[in-house]
């Protein structure tokens, strides 16, 4: 069936814990999201068959929509427009821990880093990066490689025509470690070689047929060039051919759909790329999950995805605590909580990951952890989202004196990010949408004028895989049903020299023609109601030390979009200023929460009484 003839489509995502089914339908002239069904994923014992969870989730959709979807074996795909079933079924998967890869390179900061970016872009979790110059003793590298059981290995190394021995040394580590594939030892581990073309035959000889070797174009043919697309394609192909076909029940699931199964993060990433492409803007996206935090960026057309494998809100919540440190989490709570109690609350959440906060205090604690997971996730992302290392830029006289090292800093300039999008359980289930907005703002610290959006009911992966067949339908649903417009944040970069000076003055012409003027000093935040679909004209005059996009002190005149949380004028400082004095910080937090109506008034009053 041609895409334009499709009227009803079903997509599933087989997650680590839950399998989520989403039904989409053409209603009159537009494609819309219809309903959702969810069921526990059944990849693990005792079921060991992913299709059971898929059937259970789809059955829920069947019951809710009244559309017959399940065939005796698989999903009912109809051959005529009047019949039962769907016109298209597609799925993504991250069950069983998703696609787990090891990458090898020669130089850690050059080919190692490029290989890591390529694997992450292909939707993988990178278990380890091994490079010949990483300073780790050889026997340790071999030991580590042996212990891990990846689904796939990506091996880069050497520019075309460069030295061969270092590339072969990396291959030798792999050969003698002989890592076993995760899903059973019965099949050969897929290994992609994307290194020096002149080393190909030596790599083949070294491996002696031990692995399912795929040789593709060098992902770093020269120091100045990174070519990750062939690697990404090969990863996707091998994911289907080798990994998926050996995961429990996937052999069956693959026969249910003609569309290749896609790793969940790849689907998610595709939608963030779509927003950036269609609107011609720079975007940062985040998937804040229970186990991982995926961060996506599209900056000046360059797409990068990173996954912080142990930063999450349930399974990995204690790792956030460990990495961020107790005090960094406590600083976001406006009430007294000792380190011991906080540690116990979070460890209990880790061992019982499906529980939900019942009290406001516990909700605030989870929101505090989320901010830190986002902060660290973005820091990790920026580490990989940087220029190619090893490239010597054309030197100017200034460079000679300053010895600027190109590629050591991230190219992501928050002032030039126009949109931040979030997805994941904590954000979707936040009782007030403004909570998601503030959590994203505090975690990512947008600068200038930035729109914030979130996924309504977690359907970005579904739309990502759908877009490979029917991009128009995916886009229509994305715009109309997936994106929740949270609002716009206006936050100048920089801090005034004197406390008594304004950070910015904002004049807003509201949709009804009224004029609203706000002057904000450091440490203040104001929420201006402006509904979804509404626009306000703004003139922002920043302090001479502050920048909203046109340079320090430069006035900006533009229009801003509303959202469920409205427009937030944020003069809390960039970088965000959080006092180290606990009493001062609690007071400030309560002031911010009040200003944006983040939590119920009576609860804040209770906290305020204690603080004062």
């Amino acid at each position: 069936m041609k895409p334009e003839e499709m009227r009803i489509m079903l997509a599933t995502d087989c997650g680590s814990t839950t399998t989520k089914a989403r039904l989409f339908r053409k209603i009159r002239d537009e494609y819309r999201f219809v309903c959702t069904g969810e069921a526990p994923t059944t990849v693990e014992a005792p079921y060991e068959d992913v299709t059971m969870g898929v059937r259970n989730a789809v059955r829920e959709v069947e019951e809710l929509s009244g559309v017959k979807l399940l065939a005796e074996k698989g999903i009912m795909v109809r051959d005529n427009p009047e019949g039962d079933g769907v016109d298209l079924y597609a799925t993504t998967s991250s069950a069983g821990g998703g696609l787990q890869m090891m990458v090898f390179g020669v130089t850690k900061s050059i080919t190692g880093e490029s290989a890591e970016r390529a694997a992450l872009g292909g939707g993988a979790i990178v278990m380890d990066v091994v490079s010949t110059d990483d300073g780790v003793p050889l026997y340790k590298k071999v030991e580590r490689t042996r212990q891990l059981r990846p689904d796939m290995v990506l091996m880069a190394g050497g520019t075309d025509g460069g030295a061969i021995p270092p590339v072969i040394q990396a291959a030798e580590i792999l050969r003698i470690a002989e890592p076993k594939a995760r899903f059973g030892a019965a099949y050969s581990l897929p290994v992609i070689f994307a290194g020096n073309i002149e080393a190909r035959k030596h790599v083949e000889t070294t491996f002696k047929g031990m692995f399912a070797l795929r040789i593709i174009d060098n992902l770093r043919p020269s120091v100045e060039l990174e070519n990750t697309d062939p690697s990404r394609d090969a990863i996707q192909q091998l994911f289907m051919e080798h990994v998926m076909s050996h995961a429990p029940g996937y052999d069956k699931l693959m026969t249910w759909t003609e569309v290749p199964i896609m790793p969940t993060p790849m689907g998610e990433g595709m939608m963030f790329q779509t927003i950036a492409r269609l609107r011609g803007i720079n975007v940062i996206g985040v998937g804040l999950g229970g186990a991982t935090t995926n961060v996506y960026s599209v900056f000046d057309g360059k797409f990068v995805r990173t996954v912080s494998a142990n930063l999450g809100m349930s399974y990995s919540i204690c790792n956030v605590l460990r990495e961020a440190g107790m005090q960094n989490i406590i600083r976001w709570t406006p009430f007294d909580i000792d380190e011991g109690t906080l540690g116990d609350i979070l460890t209990d959440k880790m061992i019982r990951p499906t529980t939900i906060p019942q009290t406001i205090e516990e909700l605030i604690v989870e929101h505090a952890v989320a901010r830190e997971a986002l902060r660290m996730g973005l820091a990790h992302h920026k580490f990989l989202a940087r220029g190619l290392r090893g490239v010597r830029p054309p030197e100017t006289l200034d460079d000679v004196f300053e010895r600027k090292a190109m590629g050591t800093e991230s190219y992501i300039n928050m002032l030039r990010i126009s949109l931040i999008g979030g997805t994941g359980g904590l954000l979707s289930h936040a009782p007030r949408r403004v909570q998601s907005m503030i959590i994203l703002m505090d975690g990512f610290q947008p600068e200038g004028i930035t729109r914030l959006v979130q996924d309504s009911v977690f359907m970005m992966p579904h739309l990502g895989v759908l877009s490979t067949v029917h991009p128009e339908a995916a886009l229509e649903v994305f715009e109309k049903d997936c994106l929740v417009r949270l609002g716009t944040c206006i936050a100048p970069r920089g801090i005034p020299e004197k406390e008594e000076e304004d950070v910015m003055k904002v004049e807003m012409t509201m949709p009804d023609g009224s004029l609203r003027t706000e002057s904000l000093k450091i440490g203040n935040i104001i929420r201006v109601p402006l509904d979804v679909g509404e626009t306000a004209q703004v003139v922002i005059t920043p302090n001479k030390e502050c920048d909203v996009g046109e340079g320090p002190g430069q006035k900006v005149q533009t229009s801003v979009q509303g959202g469920v949380a409205g427009v937030i004028l944020d003069a809390r400082g960039r970088p965000l200023r959080t006092p180290t004095d606990r009493a001062e910080m609690k007071k400030l937090l309560l002031k911010w929460f009040r200003a944006v109506d983040m939590y119920p008034g009576e609860t804040l009053e209770r906290f305020e009484k204690v603080v004062s």
Binding site: S16, G97, L138, V142, Q169, L346, I356, P357, Q358, R432
Partner: protein
């Protein structure tokens, strides 16, 4: 199950005790990489000529592995192997030689006493036993074996003075909280395990010597196994759990603290096997978990503000209700054992098997 295939030493129907070796294998040794070209001062391509062995052959520690001769044989450099093992690699490109240590034998114990009900060829065996079984919520330390000994009532905090020489080799049970000091004292006295209601995260960190990030445990190098039945913080051990373990006092138990929350949940366990002659007619009970929740089901609340409270499901309203946190979720009302009726999210309770 063995980590890799090997030889199974028992047969179906064999009686085994916890320390019977049921299967055996040899795990390949680690690989030692030697930059031999550098040591000998030769080019990598010359390596196959100067090394006296071929890939796949074995070499003993101290055995002559390579000789180079120069200046018409007048100067000679020898290399004697620093490691014994199998030669895995002689690379004429990188000049490296890889020697894999000799295989390490691994024995697999039965872990519990009982009867072999099934042999899994080349991998292991299934041992069946009639037993009392307690599943904990979190643990550290691997498989251990010992006699059960009660040391405290369920609501009592454990203190170091409760542990003395009489506890050596025992699995101690009871109490609401174990501290790092108690665990260290127990370790020093040769205690095999402690099963208790709760532990504080700070004490766990102090005992382990590092902060736990993700809940994958069982491999800790601790002198004892610790199993927590309720959760983190001070938690009175559930009455039913306490009474069951108390009834097993003096019996030999197998315990394992291994816990894994993600990708195939594993919870720690206490298994107290019985001899067939000790058990009357075996009666299959209904599986409370399979039945799901209904009014009358016994549940434990696993999140604040009623964490640890035990009660009976009172009602299961179909419509969503708003919590104090303002979330709209499916809830239930629970009649607590102290007579209060409270509303909690359905996600925040667990069914108790009694």
């Amino acid at each position: 199950m063995l980590p890799i295939t090997g030889e199974v030493l028992v047969h179906e129907g064999d009686a085994v005790s916890h320390d019977t070796i049921v299967a055996r294998t040899h795990v390949p040794g680690d690989v030692n990489m030697i930059p031999l070209f550098y040591i000998l001062g030769v080019e990598p391509y010359e390596l196959p000529r100067v090394v006296l062995k071929k890939e796949g052959e074995t070499v003993q520690k101290g055995e002559l592995l390579a000789i180079t001769k120069s200046f018409f044989g007048l100067f000679r450099t020898e290399y004697r192997a620093r490691y014994g093992g199998t030669i895995e690699l002689i690379s004429d490109i990188t000049g490296m030689v890889g020697i894999r240590d000799f295989p390490v034998p691994i024995n697999l114990n039965a872990y519990i006493s009982g009867k072999v009900s099934k042999v899994i060829p080349e991998n292991g065996a299934v041992v069946q036993t009639l037993a009392s079984f307690v599943q904990g919520i979190f643990g550290v330390g691997g498989e251990r074996h010992g006699e059960i000994m009660a040391i405290a009532e369920p609501q009592v905090e454990l203190t170091p003075d409760m542990i003395d020489k009489s506890c050596a080799g025992k699995i101690l049970m009871g109490g609401s909280l174990v501290t790092a000091d108690v665990l260290k004292k127990a370790e020093a006295e040769g205690v095999k395990g402690i099963v208790t209601g709760g532990i504080r995260r700070v004490d766990l960190t102090k005992f382990l010597g590092y902060e736990m990030g993700v809940a994958i445990t069982g491999q800790e190098e601790t002198g004892l196994t610790c199993i927590i039945t309720e959760g983190f913080g001070r938690m009175t051990m559930a009455k039913h759990t306490y009474e069951l373990l108390r009834s097993c006092e003096g019996r030999l138990a197998s315990i394992n603290g291994a816990t894994q929350i993600r990708a195939g949940v594993i919870r720690p366990e206490v298994v107290v096997p019985y001899k067939e002659s000790e058990v009357g007619e075996f009666k299959e009970e209904e599986d409370a978990l399979a039945e799901g929740m209904y009014p009358g089901t016994r549940v434990r609340i696993i999140r604040q503000p009623y964490f640890g409270a035990i009660g009976t499901v009172d009602t299961l309203p179909a419509e969503l209700q708003q919590l104090e946190s303002e979330s709209w979720v499916r809830v239930m009302t629970v009649k607590l054992d102290d007579g209060r009726v409270v509303t909690v999210p359905r996600a925040n309770v667990e069914i108790m098997e009694e």
